[in-house]
Symmetry: C2
Subunit: 501 residues, 2 copies
């Protein structure tokens, strides 16, 4: 099956692929040759449990997706300047999953193209230019989106923030300004947005849009408190702007209870624009922007045609339709609720058991485990998170850590993830946390020789060694002292922030 040995593949990659394109586990990357369901297999046939691939939404290499693709590829694959039933049928099916006013689609090829187009729609509709974005947000890799992604531009120095970009605090009730003990964190965070808008307006700025992932993914698996989006939408509308819900990472039933993550905010909330991406085609390059008739008409009124060469082609639409069918037929939304709740419960038990687990939060099969060195100060346990990720890889489990401190274990597996998978991965994490806590305590007492062969050895230089084990690397704001014993010893009293699904 292999054309090259792993070493040759790596050498060719170093020669011909841009060095900015990182591999997982840079020191010892994985070569994957096949996958099915929630499992991936390397060149030696070793099986990995995939806890991170939200793109392979209905499971890797799903036969029904392949069948739909082949059937259409054999017939026709052309652009949307010709009429085709797949395009309109898919638009009809997709909009049927959304609130009624979200009825007009633009088919594009990636989450980045979708978010860029959302900005164009917002700017044309509002006649304004400025954007309010959340801290730690990531919305894509094209120029216009790097500009509104603090996750990215913060790495380029303080001057990288453009004047038209206004950064609101992430509505993080574990680590942010207003926490779980605040009486109205949704209102408080929304008031921040209002203040930011008012300040911008005083300086002559005009707001085109507020954009946020319905749940922040790279930003650290942040679940905005319910009611936050409603209030923000009020303020943004008052300023003449629109609300863009970025569902690129979290849409298509992942949250279990609802098909779209923004719906967790309540039935009274409807964004003006929704962008989709990763899971939409189970890996096929496609994505979509859905908006209101009013915004679409305003965009059309400029007279400028919008043409996307590959967007909405019959093959992409056939695949999109197959994905919707499979989610329904295999009740993957139900599975996300069922297995997600189970996994969440198991992780909450870990929180009870291990001081390193500061917070467990999530909805359906989108869960974050926030590791801390100190339950009171909530000092991010970055090196420990990276250590766990690395050790899990040795145990053939693929998990990642993200967030501004890279300390949040990030679950977003294919939606066919099973109870057994959940049990297995948490058992492994339990063992690793136990080892790590013991090793840390031993080390704190200086009773462990630095050259010990013990598998309980703390990660040395773990952070730099493992830094490629992240979708995107954020700078670490806090200084992490690896010789410090971060345990507070006190049991945590953080309330469960699981959204009931």
């Amino acid at each position: 099956m292999e054309m090259y040995s792993k070493a040759e593949t790596l050498a060719l990659r170093q020669k011909h692929i841009g060095p900015s394109c990182k591999v997982f586990f840079a020191k010892d990357p994985i070569k994957i040759v096949r996958a099915h369901g929630q499992y991936m297999f390397d060149e030696n046939g070793e099986k990995y449990l995939d806890c991170i691939n939200n793109v392979a939404h209905v499971g890797h290499s799903h036969p029904e997706v392949v069948k739909a693709a082949v059937k259409q590829m054999e017939l026709l694959n052309t652009n949307s300047r010709f009429l085709h039933d797949n395009l309109v049928q898919y638009a009809k099916r997709l909009t049927a999953t959304l609130p009624e006013k979200l009825s007009v689609c633009y088919f594009v090829n990636s989450g980045s193209e979708a978010n860029d187009l959302a900005l164009r729609l917002a700017r044309q509709y509002s006649g304004h230019y400025d954007v309010v974005t959340l801290d730690h947000a990531y919305h894509g890799h094209v120029t216009s989106l790097i500009d509104i992604s603090p996750y990215k531009f913060n790495q380029l120095g303080k001057e990288a923030k453009k004047e038209f970009v206004h950064v609101a605090p992430s509505p993080d009730i574990y680590r942010g300004k207003y926490r779980e003990d605040h009486e109205d964190p949704a209102g408080a965070y929304a008031d921040n947005v209002r203040n930011i808008i008012e300040k911008a307006q005083k300086n002559g700025h005009k707001i085109a849009a507020f954009i946020a992932e319905s749940m922040q993914s790279c930003g650290g698996q942040i679940i905005p408190p319910a009611g936050y989006f409603q209030k923000v939408a009020q303020f943004v509308h008052k300023a003449g702007g629109v609300f863009i819900a970025d569902e690129v990472q979290v849409g298509f039933g992942r949250v279990g209870k609802n098909f779209w993550a923004f719906q967790l905010q309540g039935e009274d909330f409807v964004p003006d624009i929704v962008t989709m991406g990763k899971p939409i085609g189970n890996g096929h390059p496609m994505s979509c922007v859905v908006t209101t008739r009013e915004i679409a008409e305003a965009f059309g009124a400029s007279g400028l045609e919008y043409f996307n060469t590959f967007g909405g082609n019959p093959v992409s639409c056939a695949i999109g339709l197959a994905v919707l069918d499979i989610i329904e037929q295999e009740d993957l939304q139900g599975n996300a609720t069922h297995v997600g709740n189970y996994l969440f419960g198991l992780l909450k038990e870990q929180q009870e058991k291990h001081s390193l687990v500061g917070d467990v939060r999530g909805a359906g099969l989108f869960i974050g485990v926030d590791l801390v060195k100190d339950q009171i100060r909530r000092t991010p346990a970055t090196a420990e998170a990276q250590h766990i990720i690395y050790k899990l890889k040795e145990r053939k489990i693929l998990l990642s850590a993200d967030g501004p401190y890279r300390n949040v274990l990030k679950f977003k597996p294919p939606m066919c993830f099973s109870m057994e998978d959940a049990k297995f991965v948490v058992e492994q994490i339990d063992e690793l946390l136990t080892d790590l806590e013991e090793a840390t305590q031993i080390r704190a007492k200086n009773s462990l020789p630095t050259n010990t062969q013990s598998k309980r050895k703390l990660p040395t230089g773990g952070s730099s060694q493992l830094e490629s084990n992240n979708e995107n690397i954020s700078p670490i704001n806090g200084t992490i002292c690896r010789h410090e014993n971060g345990f507070s010893g006190e049991s945590h009293t953080v309330p469960c922030k699981r959204i009931r699904t």
Copy 2:
């Protein structure tokens, strides 16, 4: 095979697809249900000869492309953070088609993503921001590219041009400032670029890049005179910027003689960045940026990871490899030369015969026929071009007209286009031109009643009726008087500008 009647498809499209997304032949769009080779079939089984789909490069629904896609889809489709042989093998094969220094690839999903990334590379490498672009250029639909596409931003009013954008004249030796009778049009157009750069620098601007399609497509099938790119590259390099060759429309052997259209400029010319798109995957959403090690390293030095979720996935790479194989195995580059030369010759005969044909230019299977109302003044025959396109559609031939005056018939068919196809389409054009010329003369003499049933009737309101029959609609600078007989009567003396392939 149909889910909906054509009327239902159209109604659903109007309901659910953004009104900015246009169809071909808006008054009576075509519903296509299958295609193979250079032929497309509508819902009634009517066969259309496709002269415009440069995306279906190796032929619609090519079985070897489908086979490669299925084989890989059944195995694995995941992101490029895992090692995979397809990625490196494809990068190796693709860079082997390019001059040696172009050795580093970034795989993305569309021509727009490719050109946006090219700008990011150029800006990071140069530390500059400004861009020199050609008049009438179109480089893509994302925000950053609308900004550098006069074809688009000119439609938004004079203020739409950003300060960092500098527009150089298109090196059009038929209709531009320096024409076929100029002793050194390449040098003269390049000097324009130098002057623009120097003026910008005097005003404190710093040039990051010069970007141009190797041959302008939407801009009117413009073939830059050989030597132009070399000189421009000197001036851009002197200013600290880079040369980006946009091969999204014209690459992959279409020009016959060479695999890349920039190579027509001469072996001594090598761009710093090449972007690819449309034909690369025969319709599969994929594309690529190739650059030098030096630029790639500079981009990497920012520390910012570049991650593209779908870019370079094993399925896209398998398809890309299949397309390269087919081009080679079926000698499509040879066919582009062979059939392209034949088609060009036939069209030159039309130029001898018909006063409406002002210019025929092209290379391989990329040919433009510039229609004029007046051979001396070269007044664009816009309505006539639209009429011909519409009449060809009735004869089941798909052709389009583009350029700033929408008067250039644009040939860019699948590369399997045959001698018979060429003969057939030119015969039809000959008939239509004859009809049109006769009708125009008759009408000029006021001898034809306006309500005549004659098929020789001039298009009435043709321009607005047919305006969707274009990839993108540009404003028409010249006023077109439909009652004027534009014939000069003189035979043209325009030298043949066919690039020998």
